[in-house]
Symmetry: C2
Subunit: 243 residues, 2 copies
């Protein structure tokens, strides 16, 4: 891991840019805390530059709640090289959505599964690199981002002790089988009126998740309308399970 | 309203028994707070004596969070005179459940609607009697109990500013129409694995509720397995809307 930047944000948060191989990432920690803080990995839909304001706001809330936070650029997004098969599937999906046609399962598989296959080992490698850093320690949480990435990571990575998943659309069929193997405590967020989302599929995914302790928070509103109080709820969820 | 008892619980909570006409009730307030506290009405399925340990625990958490709390005995429950038509419907429902047969809509209507028709005016009269008391003031919340009572009360009583509903079964068809007329902020709790509950009906009821701000919290576990952290979530919900 190579540090590429370091700056102090105005609220006692230290933001460090890094690369892990050719994957860019960001790490946020308290500039003043002396004790080790559990790490929460912040997922996102790809495109760190474009997503920066929203993800940095989540990171600052996360650090203010007593955690460290980190994220990685997704494969094929931002400045990373495009993945031709994924770009092709994305174009097919856009054509279908624009035409008001249903999106086929095979398109979803070709769009999402290559991302999951690449991203999950990268997030696991990030844990190898980040957990030995001073000030970071203990169990790890994963919050948000591409649903199928969160499901796979929660299913296969034993250092993930709790996960907050956004119930998004375009979840590959294979993710439902993986969901049954997840056992860590879960908080799943669902925007009830998200027009781009298949509500029943989201409820089916919640039902499929194997964890004995899982909670669904469904709120009125569209895709980007998650109420601010859910940020606090997420931090309380991680406080229960990572401390 | 006549006070029938008064005692100090061991945690700075004053518990007063009262009757309102022939309806017994309980009121819990802080024994030491000087400011006026918003009132949260605590619903329950009927039988105050039997329910006392659970409802008193909820009341003490509610008072500790800065509210006053009150409850009434339901019509036909506890020491109140039985309602023959309701008892008959209850017996029919038990026969159907024991036999593993579906419970007909008409049985639900005959069991629940007479309770709603009687209970809602009683809860409204309780507000008339309780709100002028010293130490109680501001908007009112309603939490839990018979779903159809909460829906009707939230729909017709303008002093109710926020409601926490338990998504129970045996909701009359008429309650779905009343649900569309509810406009106050709502928190709806659903036990995902409640065998006596119709999960799809609970989700349909959540969908039908007319409020612009509504949140569903679904948790793994059976009917009585609501996690303790939902008590805190309920108090935070009321703090957002009653303060």
């Amino acid at each position: 891991m190579h540090l590429t930047s370091e700056r102090r944000l105005d609220d006692d948060v230290l933001e460090r840019g890094f690369t892990l191989g050719d994957v860019p990432g960001l790490l946020w920690t308290s500039a003043s805390a002396s004790a080790e803080a559990p790490l929460v990995l912040l997922g996102h839909p790809g495109g760190l530059d474009r997503m920066y304001p929203r993800i940095a706001a989540r990171a600052r809330d996360t650090v203010a709640a007593g955690f460290a936070a980190a994220t990685l650029e997704l494969p094929g997004s931002g400045d990373r090289p495009r993945i031709p098969a994924v770009e092709e599937a994305r174009a097919e999906l856009r054509r279908a959505v624009t035409a008001g046609e249903p999106v086929g399962d095979d398109v979803v598989d070709r769009l999402v599964l290559p991302l999951v296959d690449r991203a999950v080992p990268e997030w696991r490698a990030a844990l190898d690199a980040l957990l030995p850093l001073p000030g970071i320690g203990g169990p790890v949480g994963f919050a948000g981002g591409v649903t199928a990435v969160g499901v796979r990571l929660a299913a296969v990575e034993p250092r993930i002790a709790a996960a907050l998943l956004f119930a998004g659309s375009y979840v590959p069929r294979a993710s439902f089988d993986e969901a049954r193997r997840v056992t860590v405590p879960l908080l799943v967020l669902l925007q009830w009126d998200d027009e781009g989302n298949d509500r029943q599929m989201a409820l089916d995914l919640f039902d499929a998740l194997g964890s004995a302790e899982k909670t669904l928070h469904a709120n009125t509103g569209g895709h980007t309308g998650i109420p601010h109080f859910e940020g606090d709820a997420g931090n309380r969820f991680f406080a229960r399970h990572l401390r």
